[in-house]
Amino acid sequence: MEQAAPDPERLWQPAPLEPLSHPDAGLESMVGEETKGARDEGPGDGTMTENNFSLKKIEISVSEAEKRTGRNAMNMQETYTAYLIETRSVEHNDGQSVLTDSLWRRYSEFELLRNYLLVYYPHIVVPPLPEKRAEFVWHKLSADNMDPDFVERRRIGLENFLLRVASHPILCRDKIFYLFLTQEGNWKETVNETGFQLKADSRLKALNATFRVKNPDKRFIELKHYSDELQSVISHLLRVRARVADRLYGVYKVHGNYGRVFSEWSAIEKEMGDGLQSAGHHMDVYASSIDDILEDEEHYADQLKEYLFYAEALRAVCRKHELMQYDLEMAAQDLASKKQQCEELATGTVRTFSLKGMTTKLFGQETPEQREARIKMLEEQIKEGEQQLKSKNLEGREFVRNAWADIERFKEQKNHDLKEALISYAVMQISMCKKTRLGVQMLSSCM
């Protein structure tokens, strides 16, 4: 993929905006030069252009996870999990896929990729990674990162992350992302060479801006508020859900105790024996069905977690806006004060305090030449400042426009995804009820 490596100038230039995929787009909407993050039938795929006119589709999957040991930066032995990323290119017409790339990555590399994307695409709601450590666990699930179930769920989460990025109209074109999928060795160095860490806004600076900004865009204020509330409510939901799962597990498991005693009872009965035996059997089946039920519920929890983390990504965009706005406000303030200074010098009135003015008062007037020099300097600074302000303003407005476009895209995605999650959850509950009801009916018929 030919794309200029991101450089400082590109930072604030919004990527060319593509119109979002139209809902009525056909199944294969990759026509022409520009490919959009179009969806396709069958296994998830993203679309990327090799060059501007190619119609190659690729499929991405995180297919395996492997435990590895190695030496870390401090030369100490550590165990970590590596994930196999496979990329397949699908020929447009016959749908056959060919494995084009396959490499191993560990979680920290995913984090690196994401941090890079956060810096270079601050106006985009960057898809989140699956959680680093298992949280919201209920007692049966272990909080251990090496636990196979956790690793499996993480593998799925990482795959999801890659697919989200690949399907994003803007992010999918990023070269570093492409290299992440294709260049195993040296990728880390390549990313670090972009120097993105230096460009990252310091947390402190961002915090400062949040407190001091005077006139952020109203929509961002609302959005910030929304994302805070969303985080709070989803956390609460996940916590309670974990407790619910815990209790439900208890209910099912205690029913299992019935199995043995009904069986023992059936041994002393003549006519009732069969009925009791089948009752005991049903109890055992019932008790063991909880494992599958809760596994399905974990998937639901993972879907909610993704949006919990997405809320943080939303927050990040808001923070960026606040930072830019604050920057703008400071620049404007600075310009205003310089203008005033200039005016005062020119007219001789002193309204603003300046050290020079003070010392002048104390130690004597400055010479007209000195004053002229100063005025000239100020005028230059003012001219520079006005230009800077103009470009900052432009940047700010571009940012708001682009960010808002992505936020709208995100909103649609969120509504759709969460509805899917809820439907799936309801379907799961229905299936569980039907299955259990059938079991009880069968038990009843044996009596």
Binding site: D24, A65, N160, V240, M272, H416, I430, C433, L443
Partner: protein
């Protein structure tokens, strides 16, 4: 009435049982029952065990080959309770209408006992009296005294731990009422017990306390004799069948006890689950308030969970009210039955010992002394009564437990159906507007394969399940 022919009874005049006409018969008892069921003198002499040769008119098995004096009349009069249906029944008793009475000294509950009968032992065709638990307790004691060879049904527990259980709560009173009703119905169904004088008094007397004070001594001949059986004789050979019954009851009570404990634990877990559910549902409501398009679906889920919670609460209540009491009742039953078995052992032991003593003395053969004969009589009557009652008990137990387990199964099915309804009703709500969109996002409709394990989210899950209208779901998503 259970009692020897010569006894003078209070409410009805002295009548030989043999002379009493069948209440439902036209002219003679023989006609009504048919066949040769005239009181056989054989019944008055000792019979051997396992004698199932009695052939009764409708070919059924003997229900109450009970104490000599009464069995004949019973055979004349009654169909067997196994076949008892509405038409042949002549005694109906119901317990209902609990009322609270507040007096200076105490507060208590009375229940209305309604009796309808065509039996001659009852002066009126219908009675309605009020009784309290104490009165039931009195009745049971009297029955145990006067009918020691029979199995007397249990009463619900007398004492309740104050502070833990509210004696006057609706649930407690209703549970007790049901148990008391069952108690009386079991007595009503018993061919011997239902004719007991104390039972009659209990059902009919306006002032039971007056009767209690009179201390009627209305024991059967057998009862009287069994009452005074000396203990302390050693039993040589417990007959197999009674040994088997004893062992059965031991295991039975043990298993029921375990089931009771498990059931209580389940209820406890379900209550804790319910507590969490009650917090879980409303969080969706809170979330719904933040959203626009998702507001309705989330609110729907919240309501759905609320409905499921309510359904679970009902199920748990049912378990407490219907399931546990029956388990406990049968445990109590087993206990009282075991003490009857012990008494039987004592009667047998006395007989055996006395017999042995006689055998050692060479003088009095071959004629067996009257004393020993009386013992034998006693023993054999006891055995017969007990056997008959055991069989009746087994039948009732089968029926009761079948009803109980099926009842619980039904309640469970109802619970799942309520939950099903709740969840199914929100599917259309969630699906609204989904068809319109075809959002180009990836990641959710794929078949993620790894190490052979298929993990399917969302869409594919519809394919696995047999949903009522799968097409409507699938359409939305693809």
């Amino acid at each position: 009435m259970s009692g020897g022919p010569p006894k003078a009874l209070q409410s009805t005049g002295p009548q030989s049982l043999r002379d009493m006409p069948h209440p439902l018969a036209g002219s003679s008892s023989e006609e009504a029952v048919g066949g040769d069921s005239t009181p056989s003198p054989d019944l008055l002499t000792a019979r051997s065990f396992g004698d199932k040769d009695l052939i009764l008119p409708n070919g059924g098995t003997p229900a109450g080959t009970a104490s000599p004096a009464s069995s004949s009349s019973l055979l004349n009069r009654l169909q067997l309770d196994d076949d008892m249906d509405g038409e042949t029944r002549d005694l109906f008793v119901t317990v209902d209408d609990p009322k609270k009475h507040v007096c200076t000294m105490e507060t208590y509950i009375t229940y209305r006992i309604t009796t309808k009968s065509t039996r001659v032992e009852f002066d009126l065709p219908e009675y309605s009296v009020r009784r309290r638990y104490q009165d039931f307790d009195w009745l049971r004691n009297k029955l145990e005294e006067s009918q020691p060879t029979h199995l007397i049904p249990p009463l619900p527990e007398k004492f309740v731990v104050k502070g833990v259980v509210d004696r006057f709560s609706e649930e407690f009173v209703e549970t007790r009422r049901k148990a008391l009703d069952k108690f009386l119905k079991r007595i009503t169904d018993h061919p011997v017990l239902s004719f007991n004088e104390h039972f009659n008094v209990f059902l009919t007397a306006k002032d039971l306390n007056a009767h209690k004070k009179q201390g009627m001594a209305l024991l059967t001949r057998v009862g009287e004799s069994v009452k005074h059986v000396a203990g302390g004789y050693k039993l040589r050979n417990r007959p197999l069948e009674f040994a088997a019954i004893g062992e059965y009851l031991d295991t039975f009570a043990l298993k029921l006890g375990t089931i009771d404990r498990i059931a209580q634990r389940i209820i406890k877990e379900e209550i804790e689950y319910l507590v969490e559910l009650r917090e879980y549902g409303p969080v969706y409501s809170t979330w719904s308030a933040l959203e626009g398009e998702l507001a309705e679906p989330l609110e729907g889920v919240s309501a759905c969970i609320g409905n499921c919670s309510t359904a679970l609460e009902e199920l748990t209540d049912d378990m407490t009210e219907d399931f546990l009491p029956v388990l406990r009742e049968y445990i109590l039953y087993s206990d009282s039955m075991k003490s009857v078995l012990k008494k039987r052992d004592q009667v047998q032991a006395e007989y055996e010992t006395k017999l042995e003593a006689v055998a050692l003395k060479k003088e009095e053969r071959p004629k067996v002394p009257a004393d020993v004969e009386k013992c034998q009589d006693r023993m054999e009557c006891f055995n017969a009564d007990l056997k008959a009652d055991m069989e009746r008990w087994q039948n009732n137990k089968r029926q009761d437990f079948r009803q109980l387990l099926m009842g619980m199964a039904d309640k469970n099915i109802q619970y799942y159906e309520k939950c099903l309804m709740a969840w199914e009703s929100i599917i259309p709500l969630l699906q609204e507007k989904q068809e319109a969109k075809r959002y180009p996002f990836i990641g959710k409709n794929q078949d993620m394969q790894s190490n052979g394990k298929k993990y399917q989210l969302f869409y594919s899950s519809f394919l696995i399940l047999n949903l009522p209208s799968p097409t409507s779901y699938k359409m939305a998503l693809i």
